[in-house]
Protein backbone atom coordinates (compact mmCIF):
# COMPACT_ATOMS: atom_id res chain seq x y z
CA UNK A 1 0.00 0.00 0.00
CA UNK A 2 3.04 2.23 0.20
CA UNK A 3 2.61 3.05 -3.47
CA UNK A 4 -0.93 4.31 -3.11
CA UNK A 5 0.11 7.93 -2.73
CA UNK A 6 2.17 8.00 -5.85
CA UNK A 7 -0.77 6.57 -7.82
CA UNK A 8 -3.08 9.27 -6.57
CA UNK A 9 -0.73 12.17 -6.51
CA UNK A 10 -1.82 13.33 -9.86
CA UNK A 11 -3.97 16.00 -11.26
CA UNK A 12 -7.51 15.99 -12.47
CA UNK A 13 -9.42 16.95 -15.50
CA UNK A 14 -12.34 19.10 -14.56
CA UNK A 15 -15.16 19.54 -16.99
CA UNK A 16 -17.13 22.71 -17.22
CA UNK A 17 -20.66 21.44 -16.96
CA UNK A 18 -20.43 17.71 -16.65
CA UNK A 19 -17.90 16.27 -14.26
CA UNK A 20 -17.49 12.56 -14.92
CA UNK A 21 -18.57 12.89 -18.54
CA UNK A 22 -15.31 11.25 -19.48
CA UNK A 23 -16.49 7.96 -18.02
CA UNK A 24 -18.08 6.54 -21.10
CA UNK A 25 -19.13 2.95 -20.57
CA UNK A 26 -21.29 0.86 -18.30
CA UNK A 27 -18.21 -0.96 -17.09
CA UNK A 28 -16.52 2.41 -16.73
CA UNK A 29 -19.28 3.59 -14.41
CA UNK A 30 -19.12 0.36 -12.44
CA UNK A 31 -15.39 0.78 -11.95
CA UNK A 32 -15.61 4.48 -11.25
CA UNK A 33 -16.77 3.84 -7.70
CA UNK A 34 -13.16 2.87 -6.91
CA UNK A 35 -10.52 5.48 -7.60
CA UNK A 36 -8.21 4.35 -10.39
CA UNK A 37 -4.73 3.22 -9.35
CA UNK A 38 -3.21 5.51 -11.93
CA UNK A 39 -3.69 7.25 -15.21
CA UNK A 40 -2.04 6.33 -18.51
CA UNK A 41 -2.25 8.83 -21.34
CA UNK A 42 -1.80 7.31 -24.80
CA UNK A 43 -0.73 9.56 -27.67
CA UNK A 44 -2.03 8.10 -30.93
CA UNK A 45 -5.00 5.90 -31.85
CA UNK A 46 -3.37 3.72 -34.49
CA UNK A 47 -2.75 -0.03 -34.19
CA UNK A 48 -0.33 0.41 -31.27
CA UNK A 49 -2.17 3.15 -29.38
CA UNK A 50 -5.65 1.64 -29.66
CA UNK A 51 -4.33 -1.79 -28.65
CA UNK A 52 -2.38 -0.61 -25.61
CA UNK A 53 -5.46 1.34 -24.44
CA UNK A 54 -7.71 -1.71 -24.73
CA UNK A 55 -5.33 -4.18 -23.08
CA UNK A 56 -4.45 -1.78 -20.25
CA UNK A 57 -8.15 -1.64 -19.40
CA UNK A 58 -8.65 -5.40 -19.82
CA UNK A 59 -5.59 -6.56 -17.92
CA UNK A 60 -5.86 -4.03 -15.10
CA UNK A 61 -9.52 -5.12 -14.70
CA UNK A 62 -10.51 -1.53 -15.28
CA UNK A 63 -8.36 -0.17 -12.46
CA UNK A 64 -6.08 1.95 -14.65
CA UNK A 65 -7.63 5.07 -16.13
CA UNK A 66 -6.73 5.33 -19.81
CA UNK A 67 -7.01 8.51 -21.89
CA UNK A 68 -6.21 8.38 -25.61
CA UNK A 69 -5.34 11.56 -27.50
CA UNK A 70 -5.80 11.23 -31.27
CA UNK A 71 -6.28 13.99 -33.83
CA UNK A 72 -8.41 11.99 -36.29
CA UNK A 73 -11.99 10.94 -35.61
CA UNK A 74 -11.63 7.75 -37.66
CA UNK A 75 -9.15 4.88 -37.99
CA UNK A 76 -7.98 4.14 -41.53
CA UNK A 77 -6.02 0.91 -41.99
CA UNK A 78 -2.71 1.09 -43.82
CA UNK A 79 -2.74 -2.72 -44.24
CA UNK A 80 -4.83 -3.47 -47.38
CA UNK A 81 -4.67 0.19 -48.50
CA UNK A 82 -2.52 -0.74 -51.51
CA UNK A 83 -5.61 -2.62 -52.76
CA UNK A 84 -7.32 0.75 -53.11
CA UNK A 85 -4.63 1.66 -55.67
CA UNK A 86 -5.20 -1.67 -57.44
CA UNK A 87 -8.93 -0.98 -57.46
CA UNK A 88 -10.20 -4.07 -55.59
CA UNK A 89 -10.92 -2.20 -52.34
CA UNK A 90 -12.36 1.19 -51.50
CA UNK A 91 -10.95 3.41 -48.74
CA UNK A 92 -14.42 3.05 -47.17
CA UNK A 93 -13.73 -0.68 -46.67
CA UNK A 94 -10.73 0.25 -44.50
CA UNK A 95 -12.19 3.07 -42.40
CA UNK A 96 -13.56 2.45 -38.90
CA UNK A 97 -14.86 4.37 -35.90
CA UNK A 98 -13.54 4.27 -32.35
CA UNK A 99 -16.94 4.09 -30.62
CA UNK A 100 -16.94 0.35 -29.88
CA UNK A 101 -13.41 0.47 -28.49
CA UNK A 102 -14.25 3.39 -26.22
CA UNK A 103 -17.56 2.09 -24.91
CA UNK A 104 -16.54 -1.58 -24.53
CA UNK A 105 -13.56 -0.74 -22.37
CA UNK A 106 -14.32 2.60 -20.72
CA UNK A 107 -11.47 4.33 -22.53
CA UNK A 108 -11.48 8.10 -22.32
CA UNK A 109 -10.88 9.88 -25.57
CA UNK A 110 -9.70 13.33 -26.53
CA UNK A 111 -9.66 14.38 -30.18
CA UNK A 112 -6.69 16.70 -30.26
CA UNK A 113 -3.04 16.99 -31.19
CA UNK A 114 -0.28 16.81 -28.58
CA UNK A 115 2.23 19.63 -28.98
CA UNK A 116 4.53 19.12 -25.99
CA UNK A 117 5.44 16.68 -23.23
CA UNK A 118 6.74 17.88 -19.87
CA UNK A 119 8.25 14.68 -18.49
CA UNK A 120 9.33 16.20 -15.18
CA UNK A 121 5.80 17.49 -14.46
CA UNK A 122 4.25 14.37 -16.11
CA UNK A 123 2.04 16.52 -18.27
CA UNK A 124 1.15 16.67 -21.96
CA UNK A 125 0.06 19.83 -23.69
CA UNK A 126 -2.44 19.64 -26.53
CA UNK A 127 -3.67 22.34 -28.90
CA UNK A 128 -6.74 22.83 -26.70
CA UNK A 129 -5.83 21.67 -23.19
CA UNK A 130 -3.53 19.73 -20.92
CA UNK A 131 -3.50 16.26 -19.38
CA UNK A 132 -1.44 14.86 -16.54
CA UNK A 133 -0.31 11.25 -16.41
CA UNK A 134 1.38 8.69 -14.22
CA UNK A 135 2.73 6.90 -17.29
CA UNK A 136 2.67 8.09 -20.87
CA UNK A 137 2.55 5.93 -24.01
CA UNK A 138 3.71 7.58 -27.22
CA UNK A 139 2.53 5.82 -30.40
CA UNK A 140 2.60 8.46 -33.13
CA UNK A 141 3.65 6.33 -36.13
CA UNK A 142 6.16 7.76 -38.55
CA UNK A 143 6.98 11.30 -39.57
CA UNK A 144 8.15 12.10 -43.11
CA UNK A 145 11.58 13.67 -43.41
CA UNK A 146 11.55 16.16 -46.27
CA UNK A 147 15.10 17.44 -45.69
CA UNK A 148 16.25 15.90 -48.97
CA UNK A 149 12.98 16.62 -50.81
CA UNK A 150 11.91 20.12 -49.67
CA UNK A 151 9.87 20.66 -52.84
CA UNK A 152 7.35 18.07 -51.59
CA UNK A 153 6.57 19.62 -48.19
CA UNK A 154 3.58 21.69 -49.27
CA UNK A 155 -0.01 20.53 -49.43
CA UNK A 156 -0.15 21.69 -53.05
CA UNK A 157 2.88 19.59 -54.02
CA UNK A 158 1.38 16.55 -52.30
CA UNK A 159 -1.85 16.98 -54.24
CA UNK A 160 0.24 16.57 -57.41
CA UNK A 161 2.59 13.95 -55.97
CA UNK A 162 0.99 12.07 -53.05
CA UNK A 163 2.94 9.83 -50.70
CA UNK A 164 -0.19 7.80 -49.86
CA UNK A 165 1.90 6.20 -47.10
CA UNK A 166 -0.60 7.07 -44.38
CA UNK A 167 -3.91 5.66 -45.58
CA UNK A 168 -6.50 8.36 -46.14
CA UNK A 169 -7.29 10.97 -48.75
CA UNK A 170 -3.86 10.75 -50.37
CA UNK A 171 -4.60 7.08 -51.12
CA UNK A 172 -7.84 8.12 -52.81
CA UNK A 173 -6.05 10.91 -54.69
CA UNK A 174 -3.37 8.54 -56.04
CA UNK A 175 -6.03 6.05 -57.18
CA UNK A 176 -7.87 8.84 -59.04
CA UNK A 177 -4.66 9.84 -60.81
CA UNK A 178 -4.10 6.23 -61.90
CA UNK A 179 -7.68 6.02 -63.19
CA UNK A 180 -7.26 9.26 -65.15
CA UNK A 181 -3.91 8.23 -66.67
CA UNK A 182 -4.16 7.22 -70.33
CA UNK A 183 -3.01 3.75 -71.43
CA UNK A 184 0.66 3.85 -72.32
CA UNK A 185 1.45 6.13 -69.38
CA UNK A 186 4.29 5.75 -66.89
CA UNK A 187 3.76 5.38 -63.13
CA UNK A 188 6.93 6.11 -61.16
CA UNK A 189 7.27 5.29 -57.47
CA UNK A 190 10.15 4.97 -55.03
CA UNK A 191 11.21 2.93 -52.05
CA UNK A 192 12.84 5.07 -49.35
CA UNK A 193 15.98 4.00 -47.54
CA UNK A 194 15.15 1.48 -44.81
CA UNK A 195 13.95 1.54 -42.08
CA UNK A 196 10.51 2.74 -43.04
CA UNK A 197 6.90 1.75 -42.27
CA UNK A 198 5.92 -1.65 -43.74
CA UNK A 199 9.02 -3.16 -45.39
CA UNK A 200 7.17 -5.11 -48.15
CA UNK A 201 4.62 -2.31 -48.69
CA UNK A 202 6.26 -0.47 -51.60
CA UNK A 203 6.79 -3.71 -53.53
CA UNK A 204 3.18 -4.71 -52.88
CA UNK A 205 2.16 -1.28 -54.17
CA UNK A 206 4.12 -1.80 -57.39
CA UNK A 207 2.29 -5.13 -57.83
CA UNK A 208 -1.12 -3.57 -57.20
CA UNK A 209 -0.61 -0.79 -59.74
CA UNK A 210 0.83 -3.32 -62.22
CA UNK A 211 -2.19 -5.57 -61.66
CA UNK A 212 -4.50 -2.66 -62.50
CA UNK A 213 -2.47 -1.74 -65.59
CA UNK A 214 -2.32 -5.35 -66.82
CA UNK A 215 -6.11 -5.61 -66.73
CA UNK A 216 -7.07 -2.10 -67.85
CA UNK A 217 -4.08 -0.23 -69.32
CA UNK A 218 -1.74 -2.95 -70.68
CA UNK A 219 0.63 -0.56 -72.51
CA UNK A 220 1.47 1.28 -69.28
CA UNK A 221 4.60 0.89 -67.15
CA UNK A 222 5.53 0.85 -63.46
CA UNK A 223 9.03 2.10 -62.66
CA UNK A 224 10.25 1.40 -59.12
CA UNK A 225 13.21 3.49 -57.92
CA UNK A 226 14.63 1.78 -54.83
CA UNK A 227 17.01 3.70 -52.56
CA UNK A 228 18.08 0.32 -51.17
CA UNK A 229 20.44 -2.01 -53.00
CA UNK A 230 17.87 -4.80 -53.20
CA UNK A 231 14.25 -5.69 -52.43
CA UNK A 232 14.28 -5.71 -48.66
CA UNK A 233 11.34 -7.99 -47.83
CA UNK A 234 10.09 -11.22 -49.44
CA UNK A 235 12.82 -10.65 -52.05
CA UNK A 236 12.66 -13.96 -53.89
CA UNK A 237 8.88 -13.88 -54.14
CA UNK A 238 8.64 -10.27 -55.32
CA UNK A 239 11.47 -10.76 -57.81
CA UNK A 240 9.61 -13.70 -59.34
CA UNK A 241 6.31 -11.79 -59.48
CA UNK A 242 7.97 -8.73 -61.08
CA UNK A 243 9.74 -10.90 -63.68
CA UNK A 244 6.92 -13.32 -64.46
CA UNK A 245 3.45 -11.97 -63.60
CA UNK A 246 4.39 -8.40 -64.50
CA UNK A 247 7.08 -8.96 -67.15
CA UNK A 248 7.17 -5.93 -69.43
CA UNK A 249 5.21 -3.82 -66.93
CA UNK A 250 7.34 -3.52 -63.78
CA UNK A 251 10.81 -2.05 -64.21
CA UNK A 252 12.64 -2.40 -60.87
CA UNK A 253 15.79 -0.29 -60.36
CA UNK A 254 17.81 -0.81 -57.16
CA UNK A 255 20.37 1.70 -55.77
CA UNK A 256 18.35 4.50 -57.31
CA UNK A 257 17.47 7.04 -54.62
CA UNK A 258 15.52 10.11 -55.71
CA UNK A 259 17.74 13.19 -55.54
CA UNK A 260 15.40 15.79 -57.04
CA UNK A 261 11.79 16.24 -58.07
CA UNK A 262 10.36 18.82 -60.46
CA UNK A 263 6.82 19.06 -59.17
CA UNK A 264 5.33 20.92 -62.15
CA UNK A 265 6.47 18.34 -64.71
CA UNK A 266 6.46 15.29 -62.40
CA UNK A 267 10.07 14.62 -63.31
CA UNK A 268 12.31 12.74 -60.88
CA UNK A 269 16.07 12.62 -60.88
CA UNK A 270 18.40 10.03 -59.40
CA UNK A 271 22.17 9.67 -59.76
CA UNK A 272 21.51 7.53 -62.83
CA UNK A 273 18.14 8.51 -64.29
CA UNK A 274 15.86 11.42 -65.07
CA UNK A 275 12.31 10.25 -65.67
CA UNK A 276 9.14 12.14 -66.49
CA UNK A 277 6.16 10.40 -64.93
CA UNK A 278 2.49 10.58 -65.81
CA UNK A 279 1.65 9.61 -62.23
CA UNK A 280 4.31 10.08 -59.57
CA UNK A 281 4.29 8.64 -56.03
CA UNK A 282 7.14 9.65 -53.75
CA UNK A 283 7.33 7.93 -50.36
CA UNK A 284 9.65 10.19 -48.33
CA UNK A 285 12.34 8.93 -45.94
CA UNK A 286 10.95 8.39 -42.46
CA UNK A 287 11.69 8.93 -38.78
CA UNK A 288 9.89 8.61 -35.46
CA UNK A 289 6.63 10.56 -35.16
CA UNK A 290 6.85 14.30 -34.64
CA UNK A 291 5.92 14.28 -30.95
CA UNK A 292 8.68 11.73 -30.26
CA UNK A 293 11.21 14.17 -31.71
CA UNK A 294 9.77 17.18 -29.88
CA UNK A 295 9.82 15.27 -26.58
CA UNK A 296 13.47 14.29 -27.01
CA UNK A 297 12.66 10.59 -27.25
CA UNK A 298 15.10 10.32 -30.18
CA UNK A 299 18.83 11.04 -30.33
CA UNK A 300 20.02 13.72 -32.75
CA UNK A 301 21.96 11.34 -34.98
CA UNK A 302 19.40 8.53 -34.95
CA UNK A 303 15.75 9.42 -35.58
CA UNK A 304 14.10 6.42 -33.86
CA UNK A 305 13.30 5.76 -30.19
CA UNK A 306 15.47 3.46 -28.09
CA UNK A 307 13.37 1.53 -25.60
CA UNK A 308 13.61 -1.28 -23.08
CA UNK A 309 12.05 -4.31 -24.83
CA UNK A 310 10.55 -5.64 -21.57
CA UNK A 311 8.48 -2.51 -20.93
CA UNK A 312 8.85 -0.30 -24.04
CA UNK A 313 9.86 2.48 -21.66
CA UNK A 314 12.11 5.04 -23.31
CA UNK A 315 15.81 4.78 -22.51
CA UNK A 316 15.96 8.56 -22.53
CA UNK A 317 12.84 9.74 -20.68
CA UNK A 318 11.45 7.92 -17.60
CA UNK A 319 7.76 6.95 -17.34
CA UNK A 320 7.35 7.46 -21.09
CA UNK A 321 6.79 4.35 -23.22
CA UNK A 322 7.09 4.29 -27.02
CA UNK A 323 5.29 1.85 -29.33
CA UNK A 324 4.92 0.97 -32.98
CA UNK A 325 6.71 2.42 -35.97
CA UNK A 326 8.63 4.99 -33.89
CA UNK A 327 10.53 2.28 -32.00
CA UNK A 328 14.16 1.66 -32.92
CA UNK A 329 14.20 -2.05 -33.60
CA UNK A 330 15.67 -4.40 -36.16
CA UNK A 331 12.13 -5.66 -36.55
CA UNK A 332 9.58 -4.96 -39.26
CA UNK A 333 7.46 -1.84 -38.72
CA UNK A 334 4.18 -3.71 -39.21
CA UNK A 335 0.68 -3.46 -37.76
CA UNK A 336 0.95 -6.89 -36.15
CA UNK A 337 4.29 -5.90 -34.59
CA UNK A 338 2.77 -2.66 -33.27
CA UNK A 339 -0.05 -4.58 -31.58
CA UNK A 340 2.43 -7.06 -30.09
CA UNK A 341 4.56 -4.29 -28.64
CA UNK A 342 1.38 -2.72 -27.27
CA UNK A 343 0.43 -5.95 -25.47
CA UNK A 344 3.90 -6.42 -23.95
CA UNK A 345 3.79 -2.78 -22.84
CA UNK A 346 0.27 -3.04 -21.39
CA UNK A 347 1.29 -6.17 -19.48
CA UNK A 348 4.39 -4.41 -18.13
CA UNK A 349 2.57 -1.22 -17.13
CA UNK A 350 -0.06 -3.23 -15.19
CA UNK A 351 2.79 -5.01 -13.38
CA UNK A 352 4.62 -1.76 -12.64
CA UNK A 353 1.50 -0.14 -11.18
CA UNK A 354 1.07 -3.21 -8.97
CA UNK A 355 4.69 -2.95 -7.81
CA UNK A 356 5.61 -6.18 -9.60
CA UNK A 357 8.36 -7.02 -12.08
CA UNK A 358 7.40 -7.22 -15.77
CA UNK A 359 7.59 -10.48 -17.73
CA UNK A 360 11.37 -11.07 -18.10
CA UNK A 361 11.08 -12.95 -21.41
CA UNK A 362 8.26 -11.86 -23.72
CA UNK A 363 7.52 -13.86 -26.87
CA UNK A 364 5.29 -12.84 -29.79
CA UNK A 365 4.49 -13.66 -33.38
CA UNK A 366 4.32 -11.57 -36.53
CA UNK A 367 2.37 -12.45 -39.66
CA UNK A 368 2.47 -10.11 -42.62
CA UNK A 369 0.67 -10.65 -45.94
CA UNK A 370 1.33 -8.87 -49.22
CA UNK A 371 -1.10 -8.95 -52.14
CA UNK A 372 0.52 -9.41 -55.55
CA UNK A 373 -2.76 -9.38 -57.54
CA UNK A 374 -6.31 -8.42 -56.58
CA UNK A 375 -6.79 -11.90 -55.07
CA UNK A 376 -3.42 -13.57 -54.43
CA UNK A 377 -1.24 -12.91 -51.40
CA UNK A 378 1.91 -14.27 -49.77
CA UNK A 379 3.18 -14.13 -46.22
CA UNK A 380 6.20 -13.80 -43.99
CA UNK A 381 5.73 -15.19 -40.49
CA UNK A 382 8.05 -15.35 -37.50
CA UNK A 383 8.07 -15.82 -33.77
CA UNK A 384 10.24 -13.32 -31.89
CA UNK A 385 11.58 -13.82 -28.38
CA UNK A 386 13.50 -11.65 -25.96
CA UNK A 387 17.23 -12.34 -25.89
CA UNK A 388 18.57 -11.76 -22.39
CA UNK A 389 22.13 -11.23 -23.61
CA UNK A 390 21.37 -8.80 -26.43
CA UNK A 391 18.37 -7.26 -24.61
CA UNK A 392 16.34 -7.11 -27.82
CA UNK A 393 13.66 -9.20 -29.53
CA UNK A 394 15.26 -11.71 -31.89
CA UNK A 395 13.78 -13.90 -34.58
CA UNK A 396 13.14 -17.48 -33.42
CA UNK A 397 13.98 -20.42 -35.65
CA UNK A 398 11.40 -21.76 -38.05
CA UNK A 399 10.01 -18.54 -39.51
CA UNK A 400 9.72 -17.99 -43.23
CA UNK A 401 7.75 -17.00 -46.30
CA UNK A 402 5.19 -18.57 -48.65
CA UNK A 403 6.34 -21.03 -51.29
CA UNK A 404 4.41 -18.90 -53.77
CA UNK A 405 1.53 -16.40 -53.71
CA UNK A 406 -1.95 -17.96 -53.78
CA UNK A 407 -5.63 -17.07 -53.68
CA UNK A 408 -5.87 -19.21 -50.55
CA UNK A 409 -3.47 -16.84 -48.79
CA UNK A 410 -5.44 -13.93 -50.23
CA UNK A 411 -8.42 -15.23 -48.23
CA UNK A 412 -6.22 -15.67 -45.14
CA UNK A 413 -5.06 -12.07 -45.50
CA UNK A 414 -8.66 -10.83 -45.42
CA UNK A 415 -9.29 -12.94 -42.30
CA UNK A 416 -6.10 -11.49 -40.77
CA UNK A 417 -7.35 -7.95 -41.45
CA UNK A 418 -10.81 -8.62 -40.04
CA UNK A 419 -9.36 -10.18 -36.90
CA UNK A 420 -6.74 -7.52 -36.24
CA UNK A 421 -9.31 -4.76 -36.84
CA UNK A 422 -11.73 -6.38 -34.38
CA UNK A 423 -8.94 -6.97 -31.85
CA UNK A 424 -7.69 -3.40 -32.12
CA UNK A 425 -11.01 -1.55 -32.34
CA UNK A 426 -13.62 -3.44 -30.28
Amino acid sequence: MSNANQFNRRDFIKFAGAAGALVVSKSGFARATKPPIGRVVVIGGGYAGATVAKYLRLWSLGSIEVVVVEPNSQFVSCPLSNLVLGGSKSINDLTFGYDALKSNHGIKWVQDTVTAIDASAKKVTMLRGELSYDRLVVAPGVDFNYDSLPMLVSVEAQQQIPHAWKAGWQTVSLRKQLEAMPDGGVFVMNVPKAPYRCPPGPYERACQVASYFKAHKPKSKVIVLDANSEIISKKGLFTKVFNETYAGIVDYRPDNAITNVDVATKTVSTDFDKIKADVLNVIPPQRAGKIAQIANLTEKDYPWCDINFLTYESKLVPNVHVLGDSVAAGLPKSAHMATNQAKVCANAIVQLFAGQAPDPAPVFANTCYSYVTDKSAMHVANVYRYDEGKKIMVSAEGGGVSISPSEKEGAYAVAWAQNIWADTLT
Binding site: M1, G168, V363, A365, G398, Q418, A422, D423
Partner: protein, 145 residues
Protein backbone atom coordinates in the same frame (compact mmCIF):
# COMPACT_ATOMS: atom_id res chain seq x y z
CA UNK B 1 -20.41 8.54 -28.15
CA UNK B 2 -18.86 11.56 -29.74
CA UNK B 3 -15.20 12.25 -29.08
CA UNK B 4 -14.61 14.65 -26.23
CA UNK B 5 -14.39 18.11 -27.62
CA UNK B 6 -11.75 19.96 -25.70
CA UNK B 7 -13.43 23.29 -26.02
CA UNK B 8 -15.95 21.91 -23.53
CA UNK B 9 -13.51 21.46 -20.71
CA UNK B 10 -10.75 23.21 -18.95
CA UNK B 11 -7.98 21.69 -16.95
CA UNK B 12 -7.60 22.58 -13.34
CA UNK B 13 -4.59 21.75 -11.23
CA UNK B 14 -5.26 20.71 -7.66
CA UNK B 15 -1.81 20.21 -6.22
CA UNK B 16 -1.85 20.69 -2.44
CA UNK B 17 -5.54 21.43 -2.51
CA UNK B 18 -8.05 20.22 0.03
CA UNK B 19 -9.65 17.98 -2.59
CA UNK B 20 -6.42 16.11 -3.15
CA UNK B 21 -5.81 15.71 0.57
CA UNK B 22 -9.28 14.25 0.98
CA UNK B 23 -8.76 11.84 -1.89
CA UNK B 24 -5.44 10.66 -0.55
CA UNK B 25 -6.92 10.05 2.86
CA UNK B 26 -9.75 8.07 1.36
CA UNK B 27 -7.71 6.04 -1.03
CA UNK B 28 -5.09 4.73 1.40
CA UNK B 29 -7.91 2.94 3.22
CA UNK B 30 -9.07 1.20 0.03
CA UNK B 31 -7.63 -1.89 -1.60
CA UNK B 32 -5.08 -0.99 -4.24
CA UNK B 33 -6.58 -3.10 -7.00
CA UNK B 34 -9.95 -4.72 -6.54
CA UNK B 35 -9.88 -7.88 -4.48
CA UNK B 36 -7.05 -10.18 -3.46
CA UNK B 37 -7.67 -12.62 -6.34
CA UNK B 38 -7.20 -9.83 -8.86
CA UNK B 39 -3.96 -8.74 -7.24
CA UNK B 40 -2.57 -12.27 -7.24
CA UNK B 41 -3.50 -12.67 -10.91
CA UNK B 42 -1.37 -9.62 -11.69
CA UNK B 43 1.67 -10.95 -9.93
CA UNK B 44 1.63 -14.42 -11.49
CA UNK B 45 4.48 -14.02 -13.95
CA UNK B 46 3.74 -17.25 -15.83
CA UNK B 47 0.13 -16.22 -16.20
CA UNK B 48 0.96 -12.80 -17.62
CA UNK B 49 3.59 -14.30 -19.92
CA UNK B 50 1.11 -16.68 -21.50
CA UNK B 51 -1.74 -14.19 -21.72
CA UNK B 52 0.49 -11.81 -23.71
CA UNK B 53 1.82 -14.58 -25.98
CA UNK B 54 -1.76 -15.81 -26.54
CA UNK B 55 -2.87 -12.25 -27.29
CA UNK B 56 -0.25 -12.16 -30.04
CA UNK B 57 -2.33 -14.78 -31.90
CA UNK B 58 -5.29 -12.36 -32.05
CA UNK B 59 -4.23 -10.79 -35.37
CA UNK B 60 -5.32 -14.01 -37.13
CA UNK B 61 -7.45 -15.76 -34.49
CA UNK B 62 -9.34 -12.92 -32.79
CA UNK B 63 -9.35 -11.48 -29.29
CA UNK B 64 -8.86 -14.35 -26.80
CA UNK B 65 -9.15 -16.79 -29.69
CA UNK B 66 -12.60 -15.71 -30.86
CA UNK B 67 -11.91 -15.42 -34.58
CA UNK B 68 -14.33 -13.23 -36.51
CA UNK B 69 -13.40 -14.81 -39.85
CA UNK B 70 -12.83 -18.56 -40.10
CA UNK B 71 -11.96 -19.62 -43.64
CA UNK B 72 -14.63 -22.21 -44.40
CA UNK B 73 -12.86 -24.56 -46.83
CA UNK B 74 -9.87 -25.45 -44.70
CA UNK B 75 -10.67 -24.12 -41.23
CA UNK B 76 -7.85 -21.57 -41.29
CA UNK B 77 -8.02 -18.63 -38.84
CA UNK B 78 -9.74 -21.12 -36.53
CA UNK B 79 -11.57 -20.22 -33.34
CA UNK B 80 -9.19 -21.17 -30.52
CA UNK B 81 -11.43 -20.13 -27.62
CA UNK B 82 -12.73 -23.23 -25.89
CA UNK B 83 -10.72 -25.63 -28.06
CA UNK B 84 -9.89 -28.87 -26.23
CA UNK B 85 -6.24 -28.77 -25.08
CA UNK B 86 -5.52 -32.14 -26.72
CA UNK B 87 -6.75 -30.91 -30.10
CA UNK B 88 -4.72 -27.69 -29.87
CA UNK B 89 -1.56 -29.55 -28.83
CA UNK B 90 -1.92 -32.26 -31.46
CA UNK B 91 -2.33 -29.71 -34.27
CA UNK B 92 0.47 -27.44 -33.09
CA UNK B 93 2.95 -30.26 -32.52
CA UNK B 94 2.02 -31.57 -35.99
CA UNK B 95 2.76 -28.13 -37.50
CA UNK B 96 5.99 -28.00 -35.51
CA UNK B 97 7.40 -31.38 -36.60
CA UNK B 98 6.06 -31.07 -40.15
CA UNK B 99 3.72 -34.06 -39.95
CA UNK B 100 0.71 -31.79 -40.38
CA UNK B 101 0.34 -29.80 -43.60
CA UNK B 102 0.40 -26.04 -43.11
CA UNK B 103 0.38 -22.86 -45.15
CA UNK B 104 1.44 -20.41 -42.44
CA UNK B 105 1.23 -22.13 -39.05
CA UNK B 106 4.45 -24.16 -39.33
CA UNK B 107 6.37 -20.86 -39.31
CA UNK B 108 4.84 -20.08 -35.90
CA UNK B 109 4.76 -23.58 -34.38
CA UNK B 110 8.46 -24.15 -35.08
CA UNK B 111 9.31 -20.95 -33.22
CA UNK B 112 7.45 -21.97 -30.06
CA UNK B 113 8.66 -24.43 -27.43
CA UNK B 114 6.64 -27.55 -26.56
CA UNK B 115 6.10 -26.04 -23.13
CA UNK B 116 4.67 -22.85 -24.64
CA UNK B 117 2.37 -24.90 -26.89
CA UNK B 118 1.08 -26.85 -23.89
CA UNK B 119 0.44 -23.67 -21.91
CA UNK B 120 -1.28 -21.99 -24.84
CA UNK B 121 -3.50 -25.08 -25.16
CA UNK B 122 -4.63 -24.71 -21.56
CA UNK B 123 -5.04 -20.93 -21.91
CA UNK B 124 -7.23 -21.08 -25.04
CA UNK B 125 -9.33 -23.95 -23.66
CA UNK B 126 -10.22 -21.66 -20.74
CA UNK B 127 -11.35 -18.74 -22.91
CA UNK B 128 -15.07 -18.25 -23.26
CA UNK B 129 -16.45 -18.81 -26.74
CA UNK B 130 -18.31 -15.71 -27.84
CA UNK B 131 -19.97 -15.22 -31.19
CA UNK B 132 -18.25 -12.32 -32.92
CA UNK B 133 -18.74 -10.52 -36.19
CA UNK B 134 -16.42 -8.49 -38.35
CA UNK B 135 -16.27 -4.79 -37.58
CA UNK B 136 -18.44 -2.59 -39.83
CA UNK B 137 -16.54 -0.06 -41.91
CA UNK B 138 -17.47 3.59 -42.37
CA UNK B 139 -17.38 6.28 -45.05
CA UNK B 140 -14.13 8.26 -44.76
CA UNK B 141 -14.89 11.75 -43.53
CA UNK B 142 -13.66 14.84 -45.33
CA UNK B 143 -11.69 16.13 -42.34
CA UNK B 144 -9.40 13.07 -42.15
CA UNK B 145 -5.80 13.66 -43.22
Amino acid sequence: MKPINNTYFKIAWFKNSASLALLLTTSVCMPLIGNAAEVSAFSDVQNIHIRQLAASCAACHGTQGNSVAVIGDDGANAVLAGMAPAEFTEKMLGFKDGSRKATVMHHHAKGLTVDEINQLAVHFSQQKRVVTTALKSQILKADHE
